[in-house]
Symmetry: C2
DNA sequence: TCTATATTTCGATAAATCTAGAAATATAGA
DNA sequence: TCTATATTTCTAGATTTATCGAAATATAGA
């Protein structure tokens, strides 16, 4: 994950509502949650929530999967791991084996 | 670190220039780097850089320390660790021991 | 004090983001 | 097909952010 991608992901996580959405999905596990359930839980109007969700999709943080009329939002763990890696890189102040 | 603080930090990291600044500082280690060196390295105009740096300060990601005329920017590792923790929490999909 | 270097603040513009009501679309069941 | 539920798209105003030249401020040394 390069700087651009990481910045994009952080940018989208840098909003309380979106961070809460993403967190709820990660916590929910690999099946994610329906948009409607996020709406209930977080009490965000339809259109606003929809925008936030699609921002997370664009950033590669989640994807969606339809099942009948309900649309599940599913966290993408690879991206999450990429972000963690990015933050951990060089953060340990070990004399460093050049670039990790 | 609560959601608000984490979101604020991610928001500020969610810009390529600021992410690069922070990354350079973490990589530089506990002594950080002078603003002027960031300017050289990243090739960002004075005023723009200054705004970005102060955004990072506001988010608690770095602090500054004057030494003569040069101002050192120093990463705050506690915040970085807080972010990593936040991302790792619930991300491992272990059946979970309630809230970590 | 005068000068040089380092950095911030001012000021102003362009662009992007946030928000949410209302209308539109999608899917499934009767 | 008609209806109900789920979700998105449209639209638009308010707010925030990004950018950077120019002027201001801070520190140190001569």
């Amino acid at each position: 994950m390069n700087t651009e991608l990481v910045a994009k992901a952080f940018k989208e996580l840098g909003h309380p509502s979106r961070l809460s959405i993403f967190r709820a999905l990660v916590k929910a596990g690999p099946n994610g949650l329906p948009v409607g359930e996020l709406k209930q839980t977080l009490d965000i109007p339809n259109s606003t929530l929809s925008h936030h969700v699609s921002a997370l999709v664009t950033a590669g943080l989640i994807h969606q999967h339809r099942q009948g009329t309900t649309l599940y939002c599913i966290p993408i763990y690879e991206t999450l791991e990429g972000l963690i890696e990015f933050l951990m890189k060089d953060c340990c102040m070990a004399p460093s084996k050049e670039e990790v």
